[in-house]
Amino acid sequence: MSQDIGYVRTEMALPQPAPLRERGPLAWMRKNLFANPFDSVLSIVGFFIVAMIVPPLFNWAIVNAQWTGTDRTFCATVAQGGIQPDGWSGACWAFVKAKFGQFMFGRYPLDERWRVILVAIMFVALLVPLLVPRIPRKGLNSVLFFLVLPVVSYFLLIGGVFGLPHVETPLWGGLLVTLTLSFVGIVVSLPFGILLALGRRSKMPVVKMLCVIFIETVRGVPLITVLFMASVMLPLFLPAGVSFDKFLRALIGVSLFASAYMAEVVRGGLQAIPKGQYEGADSLGLSYWQKMGLIVLPQALKLVIPGIVNTFIGMFKDTSLVYIISMFDLLGVVRQNFSDAAWASPQTPASGLVFAALVFWIFCFGMSRYSIFMERRLDTGHKR
């Protein structure tokens, strides 16, 4: 058969490399940076912006930065009473290094800081397996994380039992306060937010009305006023002699505020569930709580994971506002240390703030990336 065919190729021809115009960095640049005159102008402006920002920033943060030192003289120029040459501008990482303990723990007594570190270790050890989908026993893990850990941490951090000295909350500060406020806010706001959202969609007019009033009022005012309310009005509401810890008042304020926002996110999810799901549950004879707990909420919450995580991120950032009712979270401690005479120099505020920004950024960015990961993983393809 094949005799009359002169030549049959038995193997595939190797692909030829693309023409020179179409490959290499030059072609990439032509395509992505200089596609047309307007694009070229944009690119030049872009290069200009990068050149204006990146090299000075790099010089400030790395090249000219002062990494070691014991007081302000290391971070001040000669004219300002320090050792640096005139015109020097660099980050004062020595300040961050010297104050690192305060930034993490506030004024928590030095000898007791192991307790905070222990709580942090337990927190991470329980959080990581909870976040990695492949690790089994999620039920036990959540019980430990959401029920046991708070109780254990409470006794460890406050002390006063089992021979641990009592540490008052005004001594707490730094990242410890930021994380405690956010964690409690998250743990409290999710169930409260779900209840409020269910209440807002309830058929009972009184319940619905109360939930709407609460949610809209809290969402309509700034967090600062809610914190002020918690710090100055709450004591007025209580009978004489009963007083709340200031930290607890801030916790109540932050949790109330976050619950209202969470409620709106959850309501969005509830509204997205088709009516047939509710009716199907009813026709199976499920009670209200069975219907919500087994059929509606699992679907609704899955839909709004990005919104929930966004609320968490917002709350994490908002904890910095407790500085205004004179509590010292990470940002508050950094701010407080600007006025430390031993370290006051033109460079310390920027250095401290950049460090705080980095910490906040790592946490928030991590949360948002994790939410994107979970969203993809939970996407079962049922989206309409």
Binding site: N32, L33, A35, D39, L42, S43, G46, F47, I49, V50, K203, M204, P205, V206, V207, L210, T217, R219, G220, V221, P222, L223, I224, T225, F228, M229, V232, M233, P235, L236, F237, L238, P239, A240, I313, K317, D318, S320, L321, Y323, I324, L331, R335, F338, P346, Q347, P349, A350, L353, V354, A356, A357, F360, W361, C364, F365, S368
Partner: protein, 396 residues
């Protein structure tokens, strides 16, 4: 047949009242009301007792008392002899000013960055992404502190001010720029401006009517521009340029003359604008991506140029997606302006805090705050709802 033996139990009245959803609903609601009333009664009782013990008279009469403190930034006349009411009004106006300025800047910046994130240009896209990811993930208070303590307060002292173009100066006491001084007869200029605005509105209306009727277009934009800019200019020429500038002058310790923007306002304004712009950028990006690519392809098929396609086809549709979340960002910016208290810009919350410390009228001050912010929220959302309804898809 076996089925006939099943007892008939269909009458609603026979089931126990306990299982009737209506009765249960009423029972629970009554329970909630009773609990709430009891709780409120308890709180009010405690509050009255606490106030009596602290010797604080409740009510808003204190607003007429003498303030006794000075406010650094005022747009209306205020001194320490003015009343608390006046002080709160000053704070309220300051809140409005910083919120309005922030909203305008954040919108412009946010739109540019949002479009930049969709650019074909790799560099612009990356710069915009870095901007958004950076500012979305740090607290606004930190951004405010950064501008205030990290940037503006390390600027040189007034006698070594940085000179900027147009006779303006930048130093640690703020930003100084020339003040426009209106001379005699300059009242004609705003009148001409108003006239120009009214006329261009009229022209736009007529042009639309004519286009609807005949299809003929009219260069509305250029006509309006000519009217709005040209008429005031003509007014200026007619009155013989009654304008002069009051330039800031360097003296030994300070700058005199010109207008000064204080660092507190500048930090708050810059921080709010930069922070909110990151969120607006994401909203704009989502809005533009929400318009299906078929729309721009169809407009290309109709022969529209890409700028026309963007203006006439894509943006109107994107706006529908953008407006509701944009509203909530504007509200967020207004609420975040209350962070002014952290750097001492006298907004409503900062002034209210001072009044609260002086008088101890905690409940009244917090109520004033809440009413004002709730009112602002309601007005803004009412306006944006109206705008949204105007832009929304009219389905036939």
């Amino acid at each position: 047949m076996a089925t006939q033996d099943i007892p008939q139990d269909v009458g609603g009245g026979r089931a126990s009242l306990f299982y009737d959803p209506k009765v249960r609903g009423i029972f629970f609601q009554v329970l909630v009301i009773v609990a709430l009333v009891a709780f409120v009664y308890w709180i009010i009782g405690n509050t009255v007792e606490n106030l009596k013990r602290a010797n604080i008279a409740s009510g808003f009469a204190f607003l007429n008392g003498r303030a006794g403190f000075d406010v650094s930034d005022t747009l209306i006349a205020f001194d320490s002899d003015s009343t608390y009411r006046r002080a709160l009004l000053v704070g309220f106006i300051n809140t409005l000013v910083v919120a309005a300025a922030g909203i305008v800047t954040a919108s412009i910046l946010g739109f540019l960055i949002g479009i930049g994130r969709l650019s074909h240009n790799w560099l612009i896209r990356k710069i915009c992404t870095v901007y958004v990811e950076l500012f979305r993930n740090i607290p606004p208070l930190l951004v405010i502190f950064f501008w205030y303590f990290g940037v503006l307060s390390v600027l040189p002292l007034p006698k070594e001010s940085i000179e900027l173009p147009f006779g303006s100066f930048l130093n640690s006491r703020g930003f100084y720029f020339p003040k426009l001084v209106w001379g005699d007869g300059s009242m004609l200029v705003p009148v001409a401006l108003l006239l120009g605005l009214a006329m261009s509105w009229f022209v736009a209306r007529r042009a639309k009517q004519r286009q609807m009727a005949t299809g003929a277009t009219f260069p509305v934009f250029w006509t309006s521009l000519a009217l709005i800019v040209g008429l005031p200019f003509l007014a200026l020429v007619a009155t013989g340029f009654p304008l002069s500038f009051d330039f800031p002058q360097k003296s030994t310790f300070n700058l005199t003359g010109g207008l000064q923007i204080k660092p507190e306002f500048l930090s708050l304004y810059l921080a709010l604008s930069f922070y909110t712009a990151a969120f607006i950028a994401e909203i704009v990006r989502a809005g533009i991506r929400g318009v299906s690519s078929g729309q721009s392809e169809a407009s290309a098929a109709l022969g529209l140029r890409s700028a026309q396609a963007l203006r006439l086809v894509v943006v109107p549709q994107a706006l529908r997606i953008v407006i509701p979340p944009l509203t909530s960002q504007f509200l967020n910016l207004t609420k975040n302006s209350s962070l002014a208290i952290a750097i001492g810009y006298p907004d409503l919350v900062a002034v209210g805090g001072t009044v609260l410390n002086q008088t101890g009228q905690a409940i009244e001050i917090v109520v004033i705050w809440m009413v004002v912010y709730l009112g602002l929220s309601l007005i803004t959302s009412a306006f944006m709802n109206w705008f949204n309804a105007k832009m929304a898809l009219v389905e036939r």
